[in-house]
């Protein structure tokens, strides 16, 4: 009898324990439902909010997931300062670039994303890919929102609302960065078309140097060569719109076929060396500094990064010229770039907003510009400018600017990694340039069909 009493008591205690455990979230549920959060934040009296926030911040940790190279050391240093000032801790989750997109989309689609996530801006793909109106927090009312450069803000807006905050300098473009001293020693000059570029590569190769550092294993870098597709826009300015209206295809386009064929030719001729399939993007500055390679497709911060890898290498010893595939001579501009978004399902929306506000302050923008080599002009009206002469010369040399496909063509950016896999297959001889183009059409059609795009019906 005694035994059964004890057993009954223990069972009752266990059941009560379980019930109280289950009841726990309900007690805190008054806080952060995604949609309700903003309204609550707006309605709450400011003074009360500050007091509560000060207490609550002790335990708040916001998570920020981004692809490799999107979160700079300087940002993490600022993050520490942010923690000192606000008490809010920041947990940076940096994911290898070849795995990032799948992981991010899985997290977003499963409703379990980090408080802040990094994503490429583009007025098309932030809607079709991220569905920002559902998955991200409207940032239009933030104090810094008005400081974002209009061209960059347009790529982060949907339905007239701003959903993201630019991370990087979007004035920089993917251009061929080269070792100036090496070019001078070999008597080389900046090529103005593909044939001249091949001649330059041959001479560099003959000198026992690998002409181009390429890194296919990252999955995305080699796709940056396709920004030469601006040549297709130049040949037919209506081509991007025709693609968006499903009245044109990639397959059969003369410039694009030439572009992929030339890329394959560059690999086959050994201009990228033997290890371009396994090279890694992170090793590019060191590889250029070592003198083993002469050129790499990079943004306008390579000089500083090479100098950081080898202080004896002068940052101004790196010059730039435009990607010469398809004889392109226009600057491939893209106001899209990695950006921060606040996940609408986050339980720390207010803390995440504070982080974004901190990162967009005058001091933070100045700190990032000073400490990140490739940041010359962050896309904020309150950010300082730090173009070097070499970079300024490069921009001045190419007055014609054409928007890249990432910004001008729907469903191109979301297919970036798939295009990378196709190109990798092309380098291995498993696909032809025509097949790659055909597959891009297919990838875009799949995205369009999933998005119920009327142009594809």
């Amino acid at each position: 009898m005694k035994k059964s009493l004890v057993a009954s008591f223990l069972s009752l205690t266990m059941i009560l324990g379980m019930l109280s455990g289950c009841g726990q979230p309900a007690a805190t549920a008054s806080a952060p439902a995604p949609a309700a959060d903003e309204a609550t934040a707006e309605e709450a009296p400011a003074a009360e909010e500050t007091t509560e926030a000060a207490d609550a911040n002790e335990d708040v940790t916001i998570t920020f997931m981004a692809s490799q190279d999107w979160i700079q050391d300087a940002e993490m240093e600022l993050g520490e300062k942010f923690t000192e000032e606000t008490g809010i801790k920041v947990d940076y989750q940096i994911v290898p670039s070849d795995q990032y997109e799948s992981l991010l989309m899985t997290k977003i689609n499963s409703g379990e994303c980090t408080d802040i996530f990094g994503g490429q801006s583009s007025k098309f793909s932030i809607v079709t890919q991220f569905d920002v109106e559902k998955n991200a927090v409207d940032l239009s009312g933030e104090s810094w929102a008005g400081n974002v450069e209009p061209a960059a803000a347009e790529e982060l807006s949907a339905g007239g609302k701003l959903y993201g905050q630019p991370i990087q300098d979007v004035s920089a473009c993917w251009a061929v960065a080269y070792n100036i001293k090496m070019f001078d020693e070999l008597g080389l000059s900046i090529p103005t078309n593909y044939k001249e570029f091949c001649d330059v590569c041959e001479k560099i190769k003959a000198a026992g140097i690998i002409p181009i550092y390429e890194c296919v294993s990252d999955g995305w870098h080699h796709v940056c060569w396709t920004e030469a597709a601006v040549a297709a826009t130049k040949a037919d300015p209506g081509y991007p719109d025709a693609l968006n209206e499903n009245k044109a295809t990639f397959e059969g386009n003369k410039e694009l076929t030439t572009m992929f064929s030339q890329l394959k030719e560059m690999a086959d001729k050994g201009y990228m060396g033997d290890n371009y399939m396994s090279n890694q993007y992170a090793d590019a500055p060191a590889s250029i500094a070592s003198g083993e390679y002469a050129m790499v497709l990079y943004n306008q911060g390579l000089g500083a990064e090479v100098n950081a890898a080898d202080p004896s290498f002068d940052a101004d010893n790196i010059g730039y010229f435009v990607n010469p595939l398809c004889d392109n001579q226009a600057l491939n501009v893209n106001y899209c770039g990695p950006s921060r978004f606040i996940f609408s399902g986050s339980k720390n929306i207010d803390a995440a907003k504070k982080y974004l506000e901190f990162m967009a302050s005058d001091e933070s923008l100045a700190y990032m510009t000073e400490n990140v080599g490739k940041f010359n002009q962050l896309p904020y009206t309150n950010a300082p400018s730090a173009y070097s002469k070499v970079v300024q010369d490069f921009y001045d040399r190419y007055p014609e600017k054409i928007a890249v496909f990432q910004a001008s063509v729907k469903y191109y950016n979301p297919a970036w990694m798939d295009i990378g896999a196709d190109m990798s297959a092309m380098f291995l001889g498993e696909m032809t340039p025509d097949e790659v183009l055909k597959d891009i059409d297919k990838l875009r059609a799949e995205q369009a069909a999933a998005a119920s795009d009327p142009a594809w019906k």
Binding site: D98, Q99, E101, S102, L103, L104, M105, T106, I108, N109, S110, T128, Q129, D131, V216, S217, G219, D274, N275, M277, S278, N279, P414, A421, D422, S424, A425, L428, E430, M431, E446, Q447, A450, A451, S452
Partner: protein, 292 residues
């Protein structure tokens, strides 16, 4: 105590309900979704019949290659893990010096995180600066220095080799337990009858560890069909379009791009394959089972 006494059926009700709600039902719903156009881009859900399955089996797509890759991976790694595991188990049940140390070394990779092993081997197999190729070059075997993970001919083999290296210790440990459970009387009797080492293995060890081998095979096949992290860390399905792509990396990518319906269709196809493989395998492996 009455040994024939059976417990009433409702004793199993709790377990059955939990299994039905948390395992069977989600699986069934998953199969149901594979007949729809479920995607992250639309809130609407429409019945599309066998459209997703047509895509999976279409010659224009590479899903069949992905399924073939998964089955090849499963078959090859299962056979090799069992064979190598058995050889190691036989060696490490002999009286040799530092026996436990040897067992520990072979078993160690199995307790390491697969992702970490993947990262480490990605570095070891780097064609330019990797440990393996550097070793070959340093001993004058330049010809053996290959592009292990980035050539279409070698990548899949390399991934399987790393997975076998990782998993063989685990299989070996199970087989050691099986071998040690065989009574030494059989071996003594066989020795008196003049049986050699091979005959002892052929007529005593092998038949008596068949149930253990059945277990290791089932474990390997289930692991092989569900493999994800090793491929993800080493090649992420590359190089190229789908050189080393297996089912779960493909499903992961499809979910990542919001194409849920095709992802669930792929899972459903593999579910059917798993059922057939499972039934066939258990029948074959238990047919000649010897009970000690």
């Amino acid at each position: 105590m009455n040994k024939n006494k059976t417990y009433p059926g409702y004793f199993a009700a709790g377990a059955l309900i939990i299994y039905f709600v948390f395992f069977f039902l989600p699986g069934l719903i998953g199969v149901g979704y594979s007949f729809t156009d479920w995607s992250a881009y639309s809130d609407q859900l429409h019945y599309v019949g066998f459209e997703n399955f047509k895509t999976v089996f279409s010659s224009d797509e590479n899903y069949m290659k992905i399924i073939t890759n998964t089955l090849s991976f499963t078959f090859i790694t299962t056979v090799l893990k069992n064979v190598i595991g058995l050889i190691l188990a036989l060696l490490l049940t002999k009286s040799i010096k530092l026996l436990n140390m040897h067992r520990g070394i072979v078993f160690m990779p199995s307790v390491l995180s697969t992702l970490i092993i993947g990262m480490i081997f990605k570095s070891i197999l780097d064609p330019k600066a990797g440990l393996l190729n550097s070793f070959f070059r340093s001993v004058g075997l330049e010809v053996l220095a290959k592009k292990w993970l980035v050539s279409s001919e070698l990548a899949f083999g390399s991934v399987m080799a790393v997975d076998i290296w990782r998993g063989v210790g685990y299989i070996m440990t199970i087989l050691i337990a099986g071998i040690l459970s065989i009574s030494s009387d059989y071996y003594e009797a066989a020795a008196i009858d003049g049986a050699g080492g091979w005959q002892k293995f052929r007529y005593i060890t092998f038949p008596l560890i068949l149930p253990t081998l059945a277990t290791t095979t089932v474990l390997n096949v289930i692991y092989g069909l569900k493999v994800f992290d090793m491929v993800y860390a080493l090649t992420n399905g590359g190089p190229g379009k789908a050189t080393t792509e297996v089912l779960y990396t493909a499903v992961f990518k499809k979910f990542g791009t919001g194409q849920y319906a095709i992802g669930t269709a792929l899972s459903s196809v593999m579910f059917v394959i798993m059922i057939f493989v499972g039934i066939y395998m258990i029948r074959i492996m238990t047919r000649n089972e010897v009970v000690e």
